[in-house]
Subunit: 344 residues, 2 copies
Amino acid sequence: MPSPCIDCLQYANWSEKVFQQMRAGGVDAVHVTITYHETFRETVANIATWNRYFEQFPDLIMHGREATDIRRAQETGRTAIFFGSQNPSCMEDDIGLVEVLHTLGLRFMQLTYNNQSLLATGCYEAEDTGLTRMGRAVVAEMNRVGLVIDMSHSSERSTLEAIEASTRPITITHANPANWHPALRNKSDAVLKSLAESGGMLGFSLYPHHLANGSECSLEDFCAMVARTADLMGVDRLGIGSDLCQDQHDSVVSWMRNGRWTKNTDHGEGSAAMAGFPPQPQWFRDNRDFSNIAEGLADVGMSQSEIDGILGGNWLDFFTDNFAAPAASEPEAGPVFGKRSATA
Amino acid sequence: MPSPCIDCLQYANWSEKVFQQMRAGGVDAVHVTITYHETFRETVANIATWNRYFEQFPDLIMHGREATDIRRAQETGRTAIFFGSQNPSCMEDDIGLVEVLHTLGLRFMQLTYNNQSLLATGCYEAEDTGLTRMGRAVVAEMNRVGLVIDMSHSSERSTLEAIEASTRPITITHANPANWHPALRNKSDAVLKSLAESGGMLGFSLYPHHLANGSECSLEDFCAMVARTADLMGVDRLGIGSDLCQDQHDSVVSWMRNGRWTKNTDHGEGSAAMAGFPPQPQWFRDNRDFSNIAEGLADVGMSQSEIDGILGGNWLDFFTDNFAAPAASEPEAGPVFGKRSATA
């Protein structure tokens, strides 16, 4: 079985076309965002929508619940879809919903989107007060059930405290190093090093606002950045989280940024002059272009095994260790659980 | 592995004491009611409460999701708890919640409690209009995902139409024959015969309002009724659904009867003079008394294998066939699916 191709963050306007492009691109698994500011009940409605996709397109996609589902997807020529949330709104103020959402298939949850949440501080707040009391309780509960912590949109101190408080490795599924492109959403070397040392994972973003030179970013520049980050974090701590927002209407990015929290218009990483989704770089338009990244990484000197790891093998290992309760609490034998140290 | 002891309906005021009595009584699996008139969100809160029980009492109980969990419970000395709803309030007006609730562990859902629902007619209504348009859609969806239809509280025509419309066998988890005790909640011979011919199951109730002579019903009388019902339906179509409501405050039976649908007080099977829970018969006080029923069935001439079937073996077979999607829709080999005919 070849090493799988895994994209650890997309939020497309889902359609048969997008699912067919996943197959055309050989994408074996995708972590899809199913909810931003939605309540629990609204999130469940989104899950019901996904259940209809699974019923409607059984030859293209399947619901991914465990890492082994990726192998099953490869064997049956489908893409395994794993659910994630970009904000903890879906769990409301109820710690009992952590396990319920995990049972419904949620595998990643950001402790914040851009704002302060009940759990931690988002990267657009002026003050970062770190994990809240509830944040620490929820981190422990997420560790218990196997719901992976994602700090992609969180601020520096909150992220460092989440790495420290979590007994299991965490993720930044879609962001890039701030040393390459200093955006509020990109991450400091201190965060990236701490993430790597605790066995966590970084997914490189292909969203233009996270790229040096935005939509004009070159493949060479992107891949050279990946290679430098491998030197910093260890090559097996790296994957892709493209943040592909394909075919979305611009009203969707407004929902992502404004939810129901303001009556004004927040432009987030955009601006009044550029309020919508920015155009993708020419070398990564959609799911069919992962091979361009593989070629670009080869051109900056990476080996095939390193490329296989970044394109999906590293996420597969991470999923295997982190999507279920820790092995110790299961009566049956399970995968080895624990933080791993960086290897490079 | 001995034939399991299964009770297919309880709604106790759950506690460590009750769980310990399940163990003391050798009860391997219980279908517990988790919701009556609650909304979806309220039902999820009840599930979260159960998740805490599973976390708190891992040596006594475990969450049952598949029939094989009963064998696992037997092997580890625990009771497998299967979830059910006595009303479709939990799915609101949203057919997408059928699959969501199944994913969260729901294995039985009554199409009605005592009143007209969105799906069918309850046994206390003056007019029975049978399955509604939504009722037929929901029956098909319940068949698809493996959520078992329960018509314990439904009226005659609705029950016959549910048996006819369903492509999989259905249940009356907790009721008795009306020919023995003519209560609104007990069932006609026509319903019982149709249920048996379609491969469905009847669970005998030990709730005093369903018993001839109520709390004073004798074990002998009850067991003779079981034997006569075996002649009518076939002995393998029978099980127990005790309707045990142990340690509940009388306010709970008021919630069951009145929910939020009336500002008056409906006494259901009770009366103003006897508004609360009636006392249990002396020979079935709680989970420790299933052996009395086994002895009583032997005394009316039933064989050990017939008694094993009624005390749990028949429910085990039914659970095995009906708690998952039909075999044909699964890529892997699964249990044989289909209605079975009565054997006696």
